[in-house]
Amino acid sequence: MAYNVKEDGNIATVYLDGEIDMDVTEKAKELIMPLIEAKKEVHLNLKDVQYMDSSGISVLIESHQKAMELGTKVILKEISKSVLKVIMMAKLEQILNLE
């Protein structure tokens, strides 16, 4: 998994690239959680994520819940078809913020 972060005021956009599985979830959390803890609104751009498994979905849920707890939000942007399919399989499309 590769990534790139752009910050603009209170919005941090995280561009993730590659396949997100159990092997990279810690890395993903280490990247996303500090931004949420800094109360940034985090935009996760998932257009270049070709594969995500249940571990990746867990990171999305955890990030979403942490953001809600701290009064900010995580918005999923440009979700790739394959990731959207997994989100829908988990019936999370009404729970997570999708754009």
Binding site: E19, Y51, D53, S58, K85, M89
Partner: protein, 140 residues
């Protein structure tokens, strides 16, 4: 087309990418629909992940291998997973309730969604756990 291929993988999270590569390669030969192929790859990767996460829970470094065998006979796809980790207690396997939104517990749910049957067999002396996932491809 009938086919049977198997491969061994070291039990660790770093192997999951190789598990997906192996599965994609096999399904490429079967000329499966792209959506179905990716669903099957997800089911296989989730089952392999469960071996790393649960059968080898607390074991960080191991040289142990898990074996994955993909077979197709008369349009029935059978995927076997063999490992030498802690014995699986089937009663303890529960997938997450979907209205209980929390991280974790989704892997088993995905496997059950994608496959027709999920069975732990007790037919191996060489291995500890033998999981078999099946799907009838005639229905797709």
């Amino acid at each position: 087309m009938n086919l049977s291929e198997s491969k061994d993988f070291i039990v660790n999270s770093g192997s999951l990418k190789d598990v997906r590569l192996f599965s994609r390669d096999v399904f490429e030969k079967l000329n499966l629909d792209k959506n179905l192929k990716e669903e099957l790859v997800l089911a296989i990767a989730e089952a392999a992940q469960n071996i790393v996460k649960h059968a080898y829970k607390g074991i960080e470094d191991t040289d142990d291998k898990m074996q994955i065998k993909i077979s197709l006979n008369d349009n029935k796809l059978e995927i076997g997973f063999y490992d030498k980790g802690k014995p699986v207690v089937e009663e303890n396997i529960q997938h997450r309730q979907l209205d209980d939104i929390k991280p974790g517990g989704l892997g088993t749910f995905f496997i059950n969604q994608i496959m027709d049957d999920v069975v732990f067999k007790k037919d191996q002396k060489k291995w500890v756990n033998h999981l078999v996932l099946t799907k009838n491809l005639s229905n797709n």
